[in-house]
Assembly symmetry: C2
Homo-oligomer: 337 residues x 2
DNA sequence: AGGCATGATTTGATCGTTCAAGTTAAGGAA
DNA sequence: TTCCTTAACTTGAACGATCAAATCATGCCT
């Protein structure tokens, strides 16, 4: 393998000093154009590349961004994070950064991971996902003035405590509900998660808002259940049994929707002795499963979100005030609704 | 934020030299137990952590492993890589390594990425996925003596040219086919990819082997098509129309199987005027989609594969001959077959 | 007692880069 | 001519760790 080419090698061949090579690459304006040109040619010729470790020692910047990847979530919804990650890797590369992965089981473990990482690899910044109420991670990072962006807004604090990018979940469920209303549905129920989670409550709120806008009463039309196919099925069964007028189900996730769909599509439902009701179902996240089975679902612009996260983080690293950003989702209409 | 703690700080507080601190941490056996104890206490007290950049400068080891993540594949099968990645992150962490992500559009671009990475971050090793015939990447790395493991066996070269871990695809389709045979099926067709891809040919071979074992003739029972839901549907339709005796379809992927399932489950198939035939379908990869819709599928032990990859890479980094490993998949039986 | 091996610790040098300060040469003003 | 400024480039030092070699005890053997 070609031996390591250092800045000194380039300097020698180009007949200039190390520092001039460094300047030609990092501060071109202080170098005479023809010198710069010559240096760049030698850089090309020798295949020189800066050694990040050495640079990091001097400047303190590692050009690394750390992000947590969860222990093998094999669920339907795991793919949301994965799609975000794919997008972020590309945006980061465009900005000259690479992603460093780590795992952590909970907030406290993640903070411990921060400490390990900061001591060892010294990442320049962090991207946090799945923010929640009383997020210990963000306050820890804020206290220490470390640059980070969250994908997910702060749920317990004012919107401007830290930079974030999020997708407007309530707008998503609202759009889904409005789509159902436009199709003539009047009794539209919601299947979501136990209240207390920011994301879940937000999604429920969008449904409620749409019903209110149409002058409809949401009372008795909402169920709270853990995320899962079986859970969605049970909740749907419960709702449809309790209220024979329900004709549509808005769900907080594709997993729940998938379960609901089983009930909605069962040809001769035990929960209903009358003539067959066609029940519309919508999901959330537009996972591959939704696409595969024709489930109408709310799509999150994840690649875009990733790019904007990188934008904001870049600003945070520059010292520019980064701000925050709420992206609109879009409804992907398929056969299920 | 707490100022950076260096090895010199620890040395001063513990009343020893830098090198003794280094030894206490890296070569404990050369340090007197009580000295070691004292040093470790100070390390704990000050919250000292080695700075990897500095270590890397001296030792040349970065404790980083690079792995490519593909540009946002939103398909059904994307999750295979993602599950592998989750597992690998954990195994790597266990061995003191972290994963560094990069993207690349093709083999040549990936080799360029190798050069960038080696010059800049100097990863200690690489994990390559989706190996194929005439893989330019492996030969490039081999020529330069760089440590790597592939998840996927070498398809054009002898098995021992480089370390690898793979899942035995032909054993998977063979198991699926045998399961169908045991259920009484006799005309079992195969839907796979155009020949020439190692993985695809291997999966077809397993089906052929199982049929041969039962003394059955595979002639006319195989179709080659790109990977996709619509492609699977078309191929299934074609097969079932051409041969009225077919009662089961073994597919090379869950995407293909999903398409096939649409045909198999259509209540009044245009392709068949006779009484309704129940067509069994099996997929490959056991994606969330398979679980969601009750598709019998071949499951790959991805977490295990990731762990073994890390094992082998660790050996390659130590200089121990790493070898290679073919893992058996398992058939997950659901309603579809 | 002298010599020597062994164990425990310390010292100086080094990895490749960039910062900060220094040098050199050329041009302009007095 | 002399002095000063500026542009262009060079030199020495430093980042924080580990390697290699040096130092200093200590114990054992003859």
């Amino acid at each position: 393998m070609a031996d390591k080419v250092t800045i000194a090698d380039v300097a020698r061949v180009a007949g200039v000093s190390r520092q001039t090579v460094s300047n030609a690459l990092n501060t071109p304006e202080v170098v005479r154009p023809e010198t710069r040109q010559r240096v760049l040619e030698v850089v090309e010729e020798l295949g020189y590349r800066v050694n990040f470790a050495a640079r990091q020692m001097r400047t303190g910047r590692s050009k690394l961004i750390a992000i947590r990847i969860d222990p093998a979530g094999d669920g339907v919804n795991g793919s949301v994070f994965d799609r975000f990650l794919h997008g972020l890797t590309e945006s980061a590369a465009g900005a000259g950064y690479r992603l460093l992965l780590y795992t952590a089981a909970d907030d406290q473990k993640e903070i411990a991971a921060f400490q390990d990482l900061l001591g060892a690899y010294e990442p320049d910044g962090f991207v946090l996902t799945s923010t929640h109420h009383k997020d210990a991670r963000t306050s820890w990072l804020l206290e220490r003035g470390l640059p980070f962006v969250t994908f997910g807004r702060p749920w317990s604090e004012p919107a401007d405590v830290h930079p974030w990018v999020d997708v407007d979940g309530s707008a998503g469920t609202e759009a889904a509900t409005e789509h159902l209303l436009a199709a003539g549905h009047r009794r539209i129920a919601f299947i979501g998660w136990p209240s207390g989670s920011g994301v879940g409550d937000d999604r429920r709120e969008g449904w409620r808002r749409a019903l209110a806008g149409a002058g409809l009463d949401p009372a008795g039309l909402s169920r709270e259940t853990p995320d899962g196919i079986a859970d969605g099925e049970a909740a749907a069964r419960d709702l449809l049994t309790a209220d024979p007028d329900i004709t549509a189900l808005v769900c907080a996730s594709d997993s729940l929707a998938l379960g609901a769909l089983h009930v909605a599509r069962s040809p001769n439902p035990a929960w209903h002795a009358e003539a067959y009701r066609r029940i519309a179902v919508t999901g959330f996240d537009d996972t591959p499963v939704a696409k595969a089975i024709g489930l109408t679902s709310v799509h999150q612009p994840l690649t875009d979100a990733a790019a904007r996260c990188m934008d904001l983080l870049g600003r945070a690293l520059d010292g520019t005030p980064p701000g925050n950003l709420l992206l609109p989702p879009s409804l992907v209409v398929r056969q299920s609704a």
